[in-house]
Symmetry: C2
DNA sequence: CTGAAAGCGCTTACAG
DNA sequence: CTGAAAGCGCTTACAG
């Protein structure tokens, strides 16, 4: 039988109410008896029953994060930022993991989170469908997509993907590259892909370069997408340089080119998007558009907190990125 | 105001008890009214309040997993195995993330899990201290370390680390390597490190080779450990081949050697321990002792289930591994 | 500073 | 097949 407040109360010769107040540091009580109560609680191994507490309080201070740890690598800094800020804000976070493109599984997770009455839900590396967003709205639970933009009706915290596409391309053009490929994402159906693609086109246009359709190779942000893109660019469509949609894609490109005897950066330049540790752990190290994922995580929970009182909608937040030159692009 | 059972009951003209039974599929009721009730629940957007439910049932079916996503890479398949099995067993899992070697943070997480009254706790990539284990025992919550062995008083599911050390060494000896290094873990203070080291010594001994102390280079399973080990083996202690304590260590070794102009496998052989996707994503691809992490995850939750009734202690389980030859060792 | 009491939303014997 | 009632362990006005 687990210890409960009543047990403490009996031993201390106090009422349940008083013990509750003391344990929660709420209301008035003498520090003297408080000490005794805490001692007793410790002695009998008391742990608050969260279900009872949450039920009585009719609220709780935990928020949920759902993410998928597949394909992409940037969840780590995101989580780090989130956990850090949650800790300083005395928030609890429970995490659940979903599979990408598993609508049913994701729905189950979301329902679970609703049953737990989390006060907010963060989506990492996942784009919730509109139907899931509707469920959340209906249940009156704030949702926030962090790490990537989305076309659906939720707020998000991410980099400016148009600018990422634009500046990555610009960077390559400035280096003197002519035929610039874009690989590893679906530039038609994926919202992020589309934004970046438009930035890419804009940069090319401003440089009076044509954006040959063949230069874009589709994919799903995975290592494997990079591998197949490398084959494509080697056998079917030559390029001077390519922009990889994620670090995984870029590593795939790097390895794929390597396996085909194409030298990077001597024969083809490469710039990656994300800038996680993978860029430092490849040889050659990869030049990248580095996103500030940790800051996104931090901001995400701050936004939630700011909303505690005001019932405004969460604003969409854009986090700055930077380009880090490493060894997969021409030195100048 | 969130919908509750009473609301449904009123609309349906039933008692709260009946609605509860229907929604949980417990007890007898007519399928006819059941249909009506479910419809109403759906219409008004009802979601069970888990706190109330768990409190009333005095139990719940969620277990917790705590892990750290740092340094090491094998949490992915582990989680995959866990989630898969949890889904088929209709179990809920909540995840919390801790930092390695953050005793205080870990304690907080464990307390949180106790407050939530999880019926079991899995530790991934983390070795809980004895004091944390004591807390858990005291709170009467089953704990299980998965992915690595531990000297503390908890059950665990892992590979046989002595055998890993032994067979990796044996493999290298069979290939004709003479001076065999062991890098990336603390073979004195880390339990896993110690086991593997003993296997390593045993294999050398059986081959009548001496285990020069200088061949072992300490570390913490990280990429960085690999980098420094490569420098060490290049400048201070020559080796024919080295065993990397994890894929991260091995990648560090590979890159470190590369940066120093040492060729793998031409000048030095390398075998990694873990066998995650990293081994396929490096160039050359890394030969590895491949552990079956996904199976460990699956088994972990199965063990929990098996214990539902019987109150036996969880047995320690050993999962088989295999050696996969790739390109960082001599071809024969 | 402390206690009695109501209530949070659900579940579960028990009785019918 | 259905309902009235007690109870899960805590919190929180309210009264003193």
């Amino acid at each position: 039988m687990k210890a409960k407040i009543a047990d403490i109360a009996k031993i201390a010769g106090l009422s349940v109410a008083s013990v509750s107040r003391i344990l929660n540091g709420r209301g008035r009580y003498s520090e003297e008896t408080a000490k005794r109560v805490r001692q007793i609680a410790d002695d009998i191994g008391y742990y608050k029953n969260r279900s009872a507490s949450d039920l009585a309080r009719q609220s709780n201070n935990t928020f949920g994060v759902v993410y998928t740890n597949s394909e992409t690598h940037f969840s780590e800094p995101l989580i780090k930022g989130i956990m850090g800020q949650a800790a300083t804000d005395k928030l609890d976070v429970i995490i659940m993991i979903g599979k990408r493109d598993d609508e049913q599984g994701l729905t189950k997770i979301v329902q679970d989170m609703i049953e737990r009455r989390v006060f907010g839900l963060l989506f990492l590396s996942i784009q919730p469908s509109q139907s899931i967003i509707d469920i959340l709205n209906h249940a009156n639970i704030r949702a926030l997509v962090v790490g990537s933009a989305t076309e659906h009706d939720v707020s998000y915290i991410s980099s400016d993907d148009f600018q990422i596409g634009y500046q990555a391309t610009q960077f390559l053009i400035d280096k003197g590259y002519q035929r610039i490929g874009l690989a590893g994402m679906d530039v038609q159906r994926d919202y992020v892909g589309l934004q970046r693609y438009q930035g890419y086109r804009q940069a090319l246009k401003e440089a009076n370069m044509k954006a040959a359709e063949g230069l874009v190779h589709s994919g799903n942000f995975s290592y494997h997408s990079g591998i197949t893109a490398a084959t494509y660019y080697t056998n079917e469509q030559s390029v001077d340089a390519v922009i990889g949609a994620s670090d995984e894609v870029s590593l795939g490109l790097l390895n794929g080119f390597h396996d085909l005897g194409v030298q990077v950066p001597k024969q083809v330049g490469l710039i990656s998007i994300d800038g996680t540790e993978l860029c430092e752990q490849s040889r050659p190290k990869m030049t990248s558009v580095t996103q500030n994922f940790q800051l996104m995580g931090t901001r995400a929970v701050r936004e939630f907190m700011a909303l505690e009182d005001s019932h405004n909608k969460i604003e969409t937040v854009t986090i700055p990125f930077e380009i880090e030159t490493r060894n997969t692009t021409k030195q100048d």
